[in-house]
Symmetry: D2
Subunit: 413 residues, 4 copies
């Protein structure tokens, strides 16, 4: 039965716990305010931080059930790659690096909640952003009667001062660099890092170079291009320079290549699901390479209408993921459509990486639909009959001519 959620009536909660100051405060606050047992869940999604400190901190707070897990392979294989089959870009530009990580965290939190018999889950996302939506839609879709605690929407620790005071009162260690406020907020995983807030709030100003963490600047990248080859099998990348790699390994290597060549920076003002515009600085080095690579292999293996159908639905697919509806009927349906198109997307793409540029320099496939005999400017020995074009044009023009005849010239509706 839905509803009837009396907030305070919680026995055991699974918290998505990073080990940082904010989620440590949340951990303690949950213990005090809800008087409930807290289970921590810390995942390695490739954010580039050690997880063991989080375990030790959790122990320090008396947490008995501590989950620390490396989810990088699952993340890339079951979330990132399926999404890349669609060439998904939110608002024409954003590779959805944060959006695609949230459903996996939500999924694992619910699985753990079932394992440990918890009746609630909690996350550290604020009340203004998209992440709260993504976490909670995931929770509810996977366990409809789960109780959800979103401390940032509930508590009165609404200023940095209050938060630090709470930390002090509750023996939460605050590292020196956290005493002052961070100049901007960061989220990172194996696909990307995102930076936003505070000094980045004015969209009229370019971000300072210190903001960037996953890429060097194009200016600082080598003067010599790097050439690589990526092999695809049924829509997913499987090898780099001829070496077969696991999904996470492959993305890790592409990230390094992207990093070194200044690839994958994006400075974007985007529209949040909760109704406001926000500005983010994204770095998606490997993902940016992957997008060009995937489009390139599709360009010779996908049928025209298969591609156009995919492309026409891509904005909706991207919006669904951005808004947090990964676990929804509409995403499953679109995924079925997209996956159906990928059976023949197999082959090799060669790319040149150079100071921010990803340039396709070759594509080959056993399934290539590109047929030199048909397209050639040379004599095609009858593979294509140019006379057919006349009939093709005449019938395509017929409706326009019928309109023109009664005064609707120039395609006037």
């Amino acid at each position: 039965m839905l509803g009837l959620m009396t907030a305070r009536d919680v026995k055991k909660v699974v918290l998505a716990y990073s080990g940082g100051l904010d989620t440590s405060v949340i951990l303690r606050w949950l213990q005090k305010e809800y008087g409930c047992e807290v289970v921590t869940f810390t995942a390695d999604l490739g954010q580039g931080e050690e997880l063991e400190p989080a375990r030790r901190k959790a122990e320090m707070f008396g947490v008995k059930e501590i989950f620390v897990e490396d989810l990088r392979e699952t993340f890339v294989k079951d979330f990132v790659f399926p999404m890349f089959r669609a060439n998904a870009l939110y608002e024409g530009q954003y590779l959805l690096g944060t959006s695609i990580a949230r459903p996996l965290i939500a999924q694992r939190q619910i699985e753990i909640a079932k394992m440990v018999g918890a009746d609630a889950v909690a996350h550290g996302a604020t009340g203004k952003g998209n992440d709260q939506v993504r976490f909670e839609l995931g929770y509810y879709a996977l366990q409809p009667d789960i109780k959800v605690i979103a401390p940032w929407r509930e508590w009165d620790l609404t200023s940095r001062t209050k938060l630090l005071a709470f930390a002090e009162e509750n023996q939460i260690p605050v590292t020196k660099d956290k005493r002052g406020e961070a100049p901007f907020s960061v989220d990172a995983n194996l696909l990307h890092s995102s930076s936003e807030g505070k000094i980045l709030e004015d969209p009229a100003l370019a971000p300072d170079e210190i903001v960037f963490q996953r890429t060097i600047s194009p200016e600082n990248a080598p003067d010599i291009a790097t050439e690589i080859a990526i092999d695809f099998h049924e829509g997913d990348p499987v090898a780099l320079n001829g070496v077969t790699l696991s999904p996470a390994e492959l993305l890790t290597r592409l990230n390094k290549l992207g990093h070194d060549n200044g690839i994958g920076r994006l400075d974007l003002v985007e529209n949040r699901f909760v109704g406001m515009k926000s500005r983010g600085i994204y770095e998606t080095p490997g993902g940016t390479i992957l997008l060009t690579a995937h489009r390139s292999i599709e360009s010779i293996t996908l049928d025209r209408e298969a591609m156009h159908l995919k492309d026409s639905l891509m904005p909706r697919y991207a919006e669904i993921i951005y808004n947090g509806f990964w676990f929804s009927p509409e995403r499953h349906m679109l995924q079925a459509l997209i996956d159906t198109s990928q059976k023949s997307v197999t082959g090799r793409v060669r790319l040149k990486l150079y100071k921010g540029n990803v340039i396709c320099v070759g594509r080959e496939s056993p399934n290539s639909l590109y047929d030199t005999r048909v397209v050639t400017f040379e004599d095609d020995e009858g593979a294509y009959n140019q006379v057919d074009a006349q009939g093709f044009i005449k019938l395509n023009a017929l409706r326009l001519r019928l309109g023109g005849q009664i005064g609707r010239t120039g395609g006037t509706p």
Copy 2:
């Protein structure tokens, strides 16, 4: 009345005439085969060739009515800019440089045909490409009973040897460099140049540097970035670095900037309307800058759903133009939708151009919907109530929870 076109029954034909070998052969062939008067029409769309030689050649062939016109401003103002309001990209990548020029040529040919009392028009596009479709759909939409002559689909000059023999027999001057075949075919206008065919036919091989005409390579571009500012008014660019410019002037300057910074190259395998894949090398220096600039000013001035609606229809709009349906009810209807969205797309974008990269470094607008008070990480003084997010999420999750309750967890359809 449609139809009844007996091909040979032509009195006067308006030929789209470049002055080059191929259209000169066509000119002569029309005079001989159709025994009709030929009117030539040579337009400056910014292809970068002198037009006077075309006039002199036409005179040499005895042409009495010769039209040589500079259409650059019309081209940019009435065709390129409306298209850029849509951020149109065919198959996710191609800026439609050739596609957008054809309707204007067709339109002007029909206008001239009416002026001079011609009953036919002719073009020099081959029977395998998209351009024949674009020209002819334009002709038919603008004058449904016009007769259309497409020599490449009709004649028997099917090899280079035969073509040159015809030229020789008919006193058509052949410059030395035309004796041998060109290693690839080029189309150019103020928006772009495209190269395809022959040595470019293998998509596994990167194009040689000699192919590029409108851009230097990123490698050869300066080591220092160039920063520029573009002002938009209701969706169209109107000034560069604070200087108001006419549409063609503005695009010309952007082309120079793009050229110098190695911007706007594209190596693409695309799907033609006539059913085959083809490979093209495109250079769209100014247009590539413009696309980023326009998306950037839209990012702060367009409402979210206005943007998403536009974006979801863009692939269809691009396909319509690519396929040659500029003069069609569906294009007019989509244009009305797009133009309606652009009233507030006014403001300034600053961009950094660097070795192939176009990077937005600032956007400002009197119509900006980006509201720091709402989005801020700092205290927003009540501009946004975080508690609202809970109800928002709960109702968005309701259908997923109802599904989950009866076993359709995880958004199973």
Copy 3:
């Protein structure tokens, strides 16, 4: 500045007031709870109730500013007809009769609020339905800082007993038939009536005949068909049986014709914007006739691609209106697209009305694109060249054949 709305801090509120028990309780409750001045607004949208009793009741409650207005012509002309240009059906079936009335009421409330210097508006819609959303999105779009009071979401009169007790305590007259609860809830206007709730909640059971108010049953309709003619001008109906009528007059007559012939009943389980399914019984007699009539005149006057483009966007347009976003950029954009298509939708449609059926028996237009010479099975004298079909088919098949050649037969992706 948005936000900062402290609910109780209201000086003057404009209430959408029907004069019935519920909104009378609301009126009194607002006076008591908010201690503010209440302005009433009662509109005739064709719901078929007298308005003067509402005025008298408002006077009785001490209301000083009372607005009673006949908005039927505006309703049909500026809301119903533009929507019908799109052939809008929500979820394939619902003609949006309730949805389209809410924006007009919201608009007029806001206009009145500006006139009388009110700082708030209030409505009587419940917290579970779509109407609260439609009213409030309209209010906020038209006046972003307006205060909105939705008593049903705020008060504690959560049962019929409490409501009646409040009425008694506050000298609100309760007619005898209102003492017991109504067996279902009704909303009506010139376009339709809707009935839902209580005895209608089980979708496995058909509604009783007493539910229907705007139509007799097909069984009770005459055994003889009625034939009518509707004239359209640029997409809108302008005359019935040759007599030019105002929009509201025309719809009123069509309602009578529909009523008498058992036309326009719909028993639907639909999906609400707030996330649940609900079941409604709708009667849209005139609108159902109009839909068939409009589609019929479009069938001969609209270009194919214009129609297909409209049709492909119709579900989105209908959803926008259903969800309450009439006053939104996306609706304005789609309306521009739709209206652009309607310039030539002019002509006469003849219909047969018979026991629930609306059957087109003829359509004629000066703008007809139907051309007997082209379509005829007889000799067309060259209007259409059948040989063109071969080239048309060959090029449409080309991509499928290229796929088949490499083993992707049968259109395998």
Copy 4:
């Protein structure tokens, strides 16, 4: 290798043969003109004609390989039912009865061609219609190098007189009723019958009653309604009135029920793929019942966004089938999306059939998402929290309010 089809160079051809005058003339003409062996293929798709006479006629013409097959079950199971999962309607009204039969005939012709070693196929569709496209796209998709003969586009038997003369010269029996021309042309199968041409060409005139073959008129239907129940399993109908039936049996029974109750007539002006408008009279008695039944069971079992996604793609899916692209990547992709949505579309629908009306009078499902506890007007015991609606509305309104604040009130873009 494509192309190189020298028309006359045919050894053995599989003809889609009805046994009627026209295809008999074609049979003979192929033998004479092409001097090739003709294999006949006659299929029962439920058109309601005996097939044995076709066999005897073929024998009479010396045909050695004669295929006469009952394909009704395949037709309904693998073509009609998958299409009905989409609620497909072309141009909002047409149930695609002819369109969906063509791919099956094409498929079987190609299978037979492979079996008997034929190098060509032939059909009797004219050069103006859609059917030639549907047949030939099917042929080419299934066997890219097949030779296709379309006699109506090739021969000179362009008038009835010439055709009859040819018949006489070639000992083709002409029944008396075929001497004069049929007043209109008919196509029929288990899903529908279609009538068009000649006396039906004027869209201003209603068809005469004699045109109708599969339905009595609503006027002549019984005065008493018939009530039926249809059971669905994963999107397809499986039982009628509790009796499990095979696909073809079920459709046959629904056709009888539809026939008797005057259900499923449609008088339509539609847009052909070949560019012209045409007028058809369709009768789809069982299909019309099925559409309402399927939509009704979906109304309680499909998630909202699943339904809206399907609905938004339905026009494109219908267009694909209408245009003849059943065997195409895009149809396969859309089918995957649609089929994914149907897993839970299981349950029973009760319908009332009455004089042309199909009225849903009840729907039930073990997978119903309709939840009385949530939707009820009565106290829902906390299943739905009305306060959530406020946050939901506030955040949905936020972008409109931000726009309104800077003068873009009323949703002005």
